[in-house]
């Protein structure tokens, strides 16, 4: 009996304690503290390790690794490749971002069915492998500065197309990328919105993807990030590695020039 009373009292104490919060921080300070606490132990590390193993593993009909894949700095060079993508590739005669370039390599080097991979839903099958690969590849450029090439006419054109697309308002809510990402110091709910049109916002935003997304519990590539932006913009569905998504990558990447890559980062 006595014991019951004690246990009941404990419950009461808990109720009494709860409203007495310690000195209130501002919301922004609170969020900053939350993020700082998580900084150590980013699950993106798990994907980086898996991606490195995948890069070196012989796979596909050709039973080959990706170690001969040219990400723009020569066959097999991973370090520094991420901060120069998207860029023009001579062999495909196209401007490609990291994901579309990986598709090319998985096709040419490994003989995988990349049309099927591009159609696979995010987080499943080979798409899951791509997300690990981009975590590894971007991680190899961590701390390096963005410096996208803009010498080729196609690269210049894609930059201009990306800029147009960034400002294109459409859909039932009249949203464009610029609706949320063209002014400094704006928030959606509690999330800071980087101004992607110039530094430092551009590299803060563009330079943290791929990232481990806490709300999704998964590593998201830039392709997946852009796909969800378009979903929230209420646009129709952008194809995987489609021209619009690559052009946006060029626009944001060029705007990030000189900014430091922190990918794969940890995001809400």
């Amino acid at each position: 009996m006595n014991n019951h009373l004690t246990w009941a009292l404990l419950g009461l104490t808990a109720l009494l304690i709860s409203p007495v919060a310690s000195a209130q921080k501002t919301t922004a300070e609170g969020i900053a503290e939350y993020r700082a606490m998580l900084a150590d132990g980013n699950p993106a590390e798990l994907y980086e390790a898996k991606g490195e193993a995948l890069w070196k593993q012989a796979r596909g009909p050709k039973n080959a690794s990706l170690e001969k894949c040219d990400l723009g700095k020569g066959a097999g060079v991973v370090k520094g490749a991420f901060v120069e993508l998207p860029r023009f590739f001579k062999d495909t005669q196209r401007v490609q971002d990291l994901e579309s370039r990986l598709l090319t390599c998985m096709d040419v080097q490994q003989g995988l069915d990349v049309v099927e991979i591009a159609k696979t839903r995010f987080g499943a099958g080979e798409q899951k492998n791509i997300e690990s690969l981009v975590a590894y590849i971007s991680g190899e450029s961590r701390g390096m500065k963005f410096n996208l090439p803009q010498a080729h006419a196609q690269e210049k054109l894609m930059y201009e197309v990306g800029k147009k697309v960034f400002y294109l308002r459409a859909g039932p809510m009249d949203f464009s990328c610029a609706s949320c990402h063209s002014e400094d110091n704006k928030r959606i709910r509690l999330q800071d919105l980087p101004n992607l049109t110039k530094q430092p916002g551009a590299s803060v935003g563009f330079g943290s993807w791929p990232a481990y997304r806490v709300s999704a519990g998964d590593l998201w590539s830039m392709q997946r990030r852009l796909n969800d932006c378009y979903r929230q913009q209420r646009f129709p569905y952008p194809g995987y590695a489609s021209d619009v998504t690559v052009a946006l990558g060029v626009y944001m990447g060029v705007a990030s020039k000189g900014g430091v890559s922190t990918a794969p980062a940890l995001k809400r």
Binding site: E160, Y167, L168, G171, D174, K186, L190, R234, P236, G239
Partner: protein, 193 residues
């Protein structure tokens, strides 16, 4: 070799055509731009030329529909629910579920909700600051009507407003807009405490 404006326009329209497809609710017709979206896309954030801006605002003002029953103020508690919800119209949303207003994404509204955005101005004390003590009174009519119009079609007052056209674009129902009106203007709403 810098691309010409013509090159850019052509490449952009080709990229848009080749890149998107229908998914769920979200069909390709969503990429057809009306005059406002056309002009505001092209201006890339810069102010529109005066005459063009005015013409767009006038055309949008004509679309504003007031309720047949003349009642503009609903239930603020329902309005709070609409303001909280960011659902609706994405390709993962069902076509039959009620849409939300996503209001807190961009605005501070009730003081108790800490998680609010700052893309739009704070709406805390919206009615109180405008001296609305009785939203049905004649004296309140100008601000009440303006607020209805702003919610129905924001481009009626600002050609390139960043706010969705909740009535005009069938995002919210007439009843939902009445409820959001109450959230903003009812003296009993937490917004006006």
């Amino acid at each position: 070799m810098t691309p010409t404006a013509q090159d850019i326009d052509l490449a952009t329209s080709q990229a848009m055509k080749s890149s998107f497809r229908d998914q769920g609710n979200a069909k390709l017709d969503r990429l057809t731009l009306d005059a406002s979206n056309q002009a505001c896309s092209e201006s890339e954030g810069a102010a529109l030329e005066d005459k063009l801006g005015k013409a767009i605002e006038e055309a949008n003002l004509k679309t504003v529909k007031f309720p047949a029953d003349g009642k503009l103020i609903g239930n603020w508690a329902e309005g709070e629910r609409v303001a909280q919800s960011g659902r609706g119209l994405t390709w993962t949303d069902s076509a039959t579920a009620a849409n939300g207003g996503s209001c807190y994404n961009c605005h501070q509204i009730s003081k108790t909700e800490l998680s609010y955005g700052s893309i739009g101005p704070s709406l805390y004390n919206y009615g109180k600051l405008r001296g609305v003590t009785d939203p049905t009174a004649v004296a309140s009519k100008p601000i009440v009507d303006y607020t209805w119009g702003k919610l129905w079609n924001s481009k009626a007052y600002n050609a390139c407003s960043g706010m969705p056209r909740f009535g005009h674009a069938n995002i919210l129902t007439e009843q939902q807009i009445k409820d959001v009106m109450a959230l903003l203007l009812d003296p009993k709403s937490p917004v006006n405490q």
